[in-house]
């Protein structure tokens, strides 16, 4: 379903450092993979490249027969709107939107009407166990709760691909476990392909596969934590 061939990003302009070359990866429908690696090796950049948020220096990414590397910026934006879901370490809930509105945001971007979006968002919030607080504000939530909202938001528009960048990085281990469980349960329920970038072996353990990103590329051999 998702195929990455020889993806190369030689230089990280943000942090002025060299990055990965010749990274290849194939994911079947419904499959999830965790990508681990040392700090600075370019895990997040790899995710950004897949999402089209950063340009690549070579290689190909195909999602369901679409060659993403041929898309222009707006084409990629449209694709992200429809087929991508994101879970960030920093949650990125918009503070001025209620939980339901935060979850509805991807649907708004798809020009769904307000009422449909709201109903769908509430269904999603129910699935992550926050239905009673649908009209509450993000600032009243704990970190774990925030990430559960973010998960609901990532899946509300039934994306084909879910990208997760350190989803539990800001959570204590107890909360993290619950969030991870929920995340993978929802991804599987949605039948989406998922890529998880993490430092955490525990988190990685929830994925179908664990890969390590090194200067040379992705190494499939599991490494003890």
């Amino acid at each position: 379903m998702l195929t990455i061939e020889n993806l190369t990003k030689r230089f990280d302009t943000t942090f002025d450092r060299p990055l990965f070359e010749q990274v290849s990866l194939t994911l079947a429908a419904g499959e999830s993979v965790a990508i681990m690696g040392e700090s600075g090796v370019g895990k997040s950049t790899l995710l950004n490249c897949i999402a089209g948020l950063e340009s690549v220096d070579g290689g190909r990414i195909r999602l369901c027969e679409t060659d993403l590397t041929t898309l222009d910026e707006d084409g990629f934006a449209r694709l992200r709107r429809r087929d991508f879901g994101f879970v960030f370490q920093a949650f990125h809930l918009l503070p001025h939107l209620t939980l339901a509105q935060n979850v509805a945001l991807p649907l708004w971007l798809l020009d769904r009407d307000d009422r449909t979006a709201d109903a769908r968002a509430r269904v999603m919030l129910e699935r992550v166990g926050l239905a009673p607080r649908a009209d509450d504000w993000p600032r009243h939530l704990s970190g774990g709760e925030m990430q559960r909202v973010a998960i609901a938001r990532a899946l509300v528009h039934e994306p084909a691909l879910v990208l997760c960048d350190e989803p539990t990085g800001n959570l204590d281990p107890g909360r993290a476990a619950g969030v991870l469980e929920l995340l993978f349960e929802r991804i599987q329920a949605a039948g989406a392909v998922a890529i998880l970038v993490t430092h955490s072996v525990v988190a990685a353990g929830h994925a179908d596969r664990i890969l390590h990103l090194t200067q040379g590329g992705l190494i499939a051999a599991p490494v003890a934590a």
Binding site: N48, L53, L109
Partner: protein, 842 residues
Amino acid sequence: MNATLRHVFLASLWRRRLATSLSLLAIALGVALGLAVQLIHAAALDEFGRGIRLLNGAADLQVLGSRAGFSDELYARLALRPEVDQASPLLEVETRLPARDETLRILGIDLFRIGAVTPSLLPVGANPDEAAPAAGDRLDALQSDALFLSPAASARLALKPGDRLRVQVGTRERILRIAGTVPAAGVGQALAVMDIAAAQQTFERIGQLTRVDLRLAPGVTRALAQTRLAALLPPGVSVLTPDDAASEVLGLSRAYRVNLTMLAAIALLTGGFLVFSTQLLAVVRRRQEFAFLRALGLDRGSLWRGLLAEGAVLGLIGGLLGGLLAYLLTALAFAVIGGDLGAGFFRGIAPQVRFEPVLTLIYLALGVFAGLGGAWLPAREAARMVPARGLRAGDEAEVYRARPRWGMALGALLLAALICLLPPIAEVPVFGYLAVLLILAGAILSLPGATVAAMATLRPGRSTLWRLARTRLAAAPGQTVVAGAGVVASVALAVSMAIMVDSFRGSVDDWLTRMLPADLYLRASDATASGYLDPESVARVAALPGVAAVRPVRFETLRLGETGGAIALIARQVDAGGGLPLVAGTLQPPTGPDQPHPAWISEAMADHLRLGVGDPLSLPLGARSQPFRVAGIWRDYARQQGSVVIEIADYRALTGDPRTNDLGLTLTAGTAPEPVMTAIRATLGEQLSEMILPGTLRAMILGVFDRTFLVTYLMEAVAVLIGLFGIGTTFAALATSRRKEFGILRHLGLRRRQIGALLATEAALSAAVGVVIGLLAGGAIALVLIEVINRQSFHWSMDLQLPVGLLLIFSLSLILLAALAARLSGAQAMRQDAVLAVREDW
């Protein structure tokens, strides 16, 4: 996109209510001031035009003379001309109303003739016969004391038919009877009508007319009739189309109108700057949010449009508020200062507030435009951001990494200097105003470079705070641009106006000293009104004990040539009478029997007629052209239409007119003016003369001056206030977006108060750079105002005068206020829990 637009973009305006309301306020004020100026003038011009139409009626041509008028012999000659179908004679008198301290415009008409040309001036008796409204009272209307008031005059004077009205002629009183009304004169025109014979007799103008209205015979063109009739007319009398006559007055008020409009436009511009500041800060603060939305699939164009929509909505709401406010202001202005904003162009009219859809829409559009313009750069900045980078925290400083733009700044200033050399377009100094805009643009463009340069020249110092502030500004000069653009604009404008007004006021003060050399002034009425002093009164006053000498002054108007308006003639002693504020020429021209009479012309007249010292000039005096020579050019702030001074001895010899308008009295040494004033009152009558001490007159004139500039001061204050608000909101926003930075500093051991002090120092430094650039730009703009805009609009020069103390105090207070505003608005950031702030994005 709709829901996104609503919830993500527009809702954000609501979230930062303070900044939003300040932007709204700025735009609303700009729109309100601009629209109000336009509304007031539209209404005043409208009413003025109605008055002109009313007074002109169906006249095809008008024969006009000076205020003194021309011989009524001309009337019959005109009426009998084959080109003329109907001729209607008029004698217009502005009469002083003793004890009322006001004047009334009285039109002496031939009621058997007026109906054919200006039917709206037909008087109607007090008790018109309902069955036969035209029947009559015609004989009553012919009575020598019958006066007919327009509804507006009737209301203003609180008089009804049957009442009596005292009018002044010379130093005597006449009593007129209100015999009826001029019902068709319309609600806005305060005037009165009486029979022409009665008017000539009452106001001692036997044999004189000021105007003859002509309706031409069928088939005769205006141009043809104008040429043929002009040949009949004595010098100083012109035959004009009614439009020419009207445009004389409109032309005079236009410069003033354009000036006020420009000032209002500048308030709006400041509003636009404030939108820019708040939007840019909002963009910085929402950087992560935008990056995240981009990640979710919001395309670049939508982001750009969303942000522009924010600006447009700000502009729209501000524009709507401003529109409302403008109508309130207009109503208030009509109630308080009258239709001419205190400048005295339109007397005797009472304009009404009216809804002006086109003007309102234009200003609403300007409001939206200001909002859009302000949001433009920030929106572009946001749309350009690389989302992957924006998703990470802590790179706001990026935005403030403004490049110095010395080249563009210099280019703008050079261009400004060049276009100042261009002449005005249609009497409006278009290029002067453009130069002002260019100077402003240049000043703002030089802000980043100036900040860097200023920080480089500042000594690093030992204080941590000082170092931090200095390095922050040097590294992020854009922060100064954001905080300082509004400051530069408002300071530049305030400073330029302060310098201009101060120079103007100083020059006017000087001018008054020259023009008012006597110890006491006496007049029967304002020079335009019906009072005057006859030689006998002058002699009686001169003979009073304590009076050492008297200097009579006679004011008249003259028409030079076929086109162009009437200019003022001032006949007085020149060299012996205190001199003149000359800018060229001499007070002692060569005298002799073959020498033409000397004349001193005002700058406006020199400009209009392209005359220089030594040029010959012929003036129509006593119905003949008399040879004069320009002996000097003087500065006249009182008569924008142009004026000429001649020796009163020459005037009397040429015209035989012995009347005096103003009498300057020199008192014998040691005489107090009060007893002399009492003696004059006893001699001339209690309410028939006006006396004034030069000091009081000077205070009065300067009072009028200050009132004229009141609107200007108000706009200045608004601009400065908006600039200060700008600093406040900028630093509030900066403080919020730099919470993490401050968190780290707190971790590193800075105390809360020190963070506050850091903000205050940065603000003071930013403001200082802004103020210094504003001062420089303001000085440059003041020069343009004085040398280009005033010269071209009003034709008068003034001596540059710098109110150094005032500017210094103003600048220092502004810097202090900026520091204070930053300190206060940053308070929230200092309350922030340092740990939380740092952890948020680690």
